[in-house]
């Protein structure tokens, strides 16, 4: 469904003509090609006043009907003064999915990007400290990907065991 043009969407469209604006149940979303996501986020923060990154997450579209890309990254932005929300999405593909880091814009992206890296294996270029965050360092898979089984691949049984004598 086409969205009602607002100041945000019209300015975004003017600056980034490739952005696709859509709306669902009153929620405005912009899909931006991955080549311009960094500039687009900077534009939204600095020109349009989206000063808060509420959430950053990822969806693996491996088995999704009609999907053309493997991964969709979702940035939930908020302008605190105006109370306006905007969902910005971009799509990346295997192999080596990567996007520019949003940490220089919003500090909140630090842990959120680490989490997406940990669970989906998407690299954030320019992130100051891109390490795994919830899983142990020696873990090799990215478990929220759709091709990772619910029960795991036996990692749990292979965790190093530290005995009382060693510890």
């Amino acid at each position: 469904m086409d969205a009602m043009p607002t100041r945000t969407t019209s300015e975004l469209k003017r600056a980034f003509p490739t952005a696709e604006i859509s709306e669902f149940r009153g929620q405005v979303r912009a899909a931006v090609p991955v080549s311009s996501i960094g500039d687009c986020l900077r534009f939204l923060k600095e020109q349009l006043g989206f000063d808060m990154l509420v959430d950053l997450t990822c969806v693996d579209y491996l088995a999704y009907r009609g999907a053309t890309s493997r991964f969709g990254l979702v940035y939930l932005l908020l302008s605190v003064d105006r109370g306006e929300r905007l969902v910005v999405r971009t799509f990346v593909d295997d192999p080596q999915p990567a996007v520019p880091s949003a940490v220089p814009l919003w500090q909140a992206a630090d842990w959120l990007e680490r989490e997406v890296w940990d669970l989906f294996g998407i690299r954030f270029e320019g992130h100051p400290d891109l390490r795994r965050i919830v899983l142990p360092e020696q873990f090799t898979a990215h478990p929220l990907r759709k091709d990772y089984p619910l029960q795991g691949r036996g990692e749990r049984h292979n965790f190093p065991v530290i005995t009382r004598a060693e510890g």
Partner: protein
């Protein structure tokens, strides 16, 4: 005397070794971490130079589980996210699901959801503030805060049969209506709780030891709060006048008269005061909701094929039986659009949101939970730098980090 801030030194592992600094491991098993949090502190004497949180000890993969449980089954997992206020998680989850499906729940259900969400906010703040007191040495205070929480659990038990892991909501409604006994218990709590709040305020608000240990500690400015994604009481204590109940009214919050409690100092003491004030406001909302509780059903009708019919109907009518089967059968189930939605609520800790991707089946294709604790704990190294070792517990307590929610 205010301590000078030491410049952030970044990652502990990459710093040049400095002989006089020493590293201290805090947690994962430590009484003041409340659950399993681990911090690696870099200390200069007793002053914290840097802190490196290490999380993941309680990682349960609940977002993966959401892709394998249907929209009603998953509510049991939401109980275990922020287990101090499970009702608020239940409400947040099913609000997101209903927004995705385009379901509007009946007014009585909305009011009851507001009541349980606000009671769980009180319960959460009682624990949080009680624990801040406990960690800073006020043990008696903790007992004063914990005792009325039992009454709130009694109410939850009367409403849904469970004290701790409530799972009270269902798609399009609730598991059951509030009995007259439960409503009487809520009325009693509305009468009794102000006395508890008064006791708590008299015990701690002007207690010199407590004020000295929390005032000016862990200061978060307004700009930092916004930039670092703080929400809820943590952001409001830093002067961000944002409350989703007012700014994006959901359920029936627009019907109630209440204030958004804010402070400007941004320190541990301000966060404590904001939580104290919020409990009184929550009680105001509960009182208004219980007096104006609308009559009517607590679930949408069976014609929408989304909510489970009441058991009596299942056993005595053919329509009820068919609907029950249709909702539960894996090849029928709910009608869900192939769309994505973000829905946020003002949970006790901050903005609790779900980003849901529906694929037409009765299970979420992806259910991202936006946990407030996760972003709040990321603030911790920033807040503690330059303070003393004993301030670690004060800052940690005032952020109210719940590890189950934090570790995902």
């Amino acid at each position: 005397m205010p301590l000078e801030r030491i410049l952030p030194s970044g990652d502990l592992a990459q710093d040049e070794p400095q002989e006089y600094l020493w590293t201290m491991n805090f947690g994962p098993q430590h009484p003041a971490t409340h659950t399993t949090l681990r911090l690696v502190l870099k200390l200069d004497g007793e002053r914290v130079v840097d802190a490196m949180p290490d999380i993941g000890y309680l990682h349960s993969g609940f977002e993966k589980l959401a892709e394998h449980l249907d929209y009603n089954q998953y509510v049991t997992v939401t109980d275990r996210m922020n287990y101090v206020s499970p009702m608020a998680n239940n409400v947040a989850w099913h609000m997101a699901v209903e927004k995705l499906m385009g379901i509007e729940v009946p007014p009585r259900c909305q009011y009851l959801r507001v009541i349980v969400a606000e009671l769980s906010r009180i319960s959460d703040h009682l624990v949080c503030n009680g624990a801040v007191g406990l960690d800073t040495g006020a043990f008696t205070y903790f007992l004063y805060a914990f005792n009325p929480r039992e009454k709130l659990y009694d109410i939850f038990e009367a409403l849904c049969g469970a004290r701790f892991t409530n799972s009270y909501t269902r798609v399009g409604g609730l598991t059951g209506d509030a009995s007259p006994e439960a409503i009487a218990m809520i009325r009693e709590v509305i009468r009794e709780l102000p006395k508890t709040f008064g006791d708590m305020e008299r015990l701690l608000d002007r207690n010199k030891i407590f004020v000295d240990r929390t005032k000016g500690i862990g200061v978060l400015t307004k700009e930092e709060a916004i930039n670092r994604g703080a929400s809820g009481p943590v952001a409001r204590a830093s002067g961000v006048t944002r409350d989703l109940r007012k700014d994006e009214p959901y359920l029936s919050y627009a019907d109630f008269d209440f204030q958004v409690c804010c402070a400007t100092a941004g320190d541990c003491y301000a966060r404590y005061l904001v939580r104290m004030a919020e409990m009184r406001e929550s009680l105001k909302i509960v009182a208004q909701a219980i007096e104006n509780l609308p009559e009517g059903p607590v679930s949408i009708g069976i014609r929408d094929r989304a909510s489970l019919p009441p058991k009596g109907m299942v056993y005595s009518t053919i329509e009820g039986l068919i609907t029950h089967f249709e909702v539960l059968m894996t090849n029928r189930g709910f009608e869900v659009p192939c769309e994505e939605i973000y829905s946020a609520t003002e949970a006790p800790n901050g903005e609790l949101g779900f980003y849901l991707v529906g694929d037409g089946s009765s299970r979420a294709y992806r259910a991202r939970c936006r946990p407030p604790s996760f972003l709040h704990f990321a603030l911790f190294p920033h807040l503690i730098r330059g303070h003393m070792l004993s301030d670690v517990v004060a800052v940690l307590g005032s952020l109210n980090v719940i590890a189950a929610e934090l570790d995902r």
